[in-house]
């Protein structure tokens, strides 16, 4: 692994390669039209909402389980003392 300082030539070489990678990428015309219609009609499946819902369900289940375990422990402790 080289730890020497970067020269202007090193930087220029890396920048040229990174620039090449960007290329002339462009979306297909058919994609542009189809997606515009789908977005405006709300037909795109975005997992953002479902992820939030899933996170809520998981949190609720975890909280319920913790509450149940705490109740059982509390009752067991009371019985032993009683």
């Amino acid at each position: 692994m080289s730890r020497s300082a970067m020269t202007p030539e090193d930087i220029a070489w890396l920048e040229a390669r990174l620039g090449e990678a960007a290329g002339r990428v462009a979306p297909r015309g058919e994609f542009i039209a189809r997606t515009k219609a789908a977005v405006l009609d709300g037909e795109i499946d975005d997992p953002e909402a479902s992820t939030l819902a899933a996170a809520f369900v998981v949190t609720a289940i975890a909280a319920g389980t913790a509450a149940f375990a705490a109740s059982v422990l509390f009752l067991m402790t009371r019985r032993r003392r009683g």
Partner: protein
Amino acid sequence: MLQDAQGDSSLSSPASIGDPRDDKALARATRDEPALFGTLYERHVATIYRYVYYRVGNHDDTEDLTARVFMRALKHIGSYDDRGVPFTAWLYRIAHNVVANFHRDNGRHPMVSLDDIEPRETHHHDDADTRIDARADRERLTRAYHKLPEERQQLLALKFSQQLQNAEVGQIMRRSEGAIKSLYHRTLEQLRELMEADR
């Protein structure tokens, strides 16, 4: 990969981004009239597509994620706060989140592809060894790029897929221009070290 690239060239130029004040006005108007979002979409779809492609490296995922970016933007257009933040910066932040979620859900496995892209220059005068070396360099660059921390990948994507200046990148990444300049230099150093280690 480039051979697959099609589309309206007038949409693919960064110059087509348009007047940011107009973007803000349109974004505000979209809250009452969602159909106006179509204009914002047409104006920015090519630049967002190029950014996403740089991050994920294949057209199939890029199309899915680009659509998701605009779906989410339309959904949250009411929360767009235009105080000092250009609409494009807001859109890039959404794109960044969508791509980050995608990489997280896919275990951060590199989708590869920068190495699938042939460089713009032709090599009529290069010999076979030179072409093989260039190909190997691109492959090492791709692997190194995907090993970079998330924010450094984002920085390179914004600078090279969009040709944005440090100040513009700073607006999107919520950093000062100086901090971006410093981060950029460290990123190039890390990239070079990763490539050296991959020899």
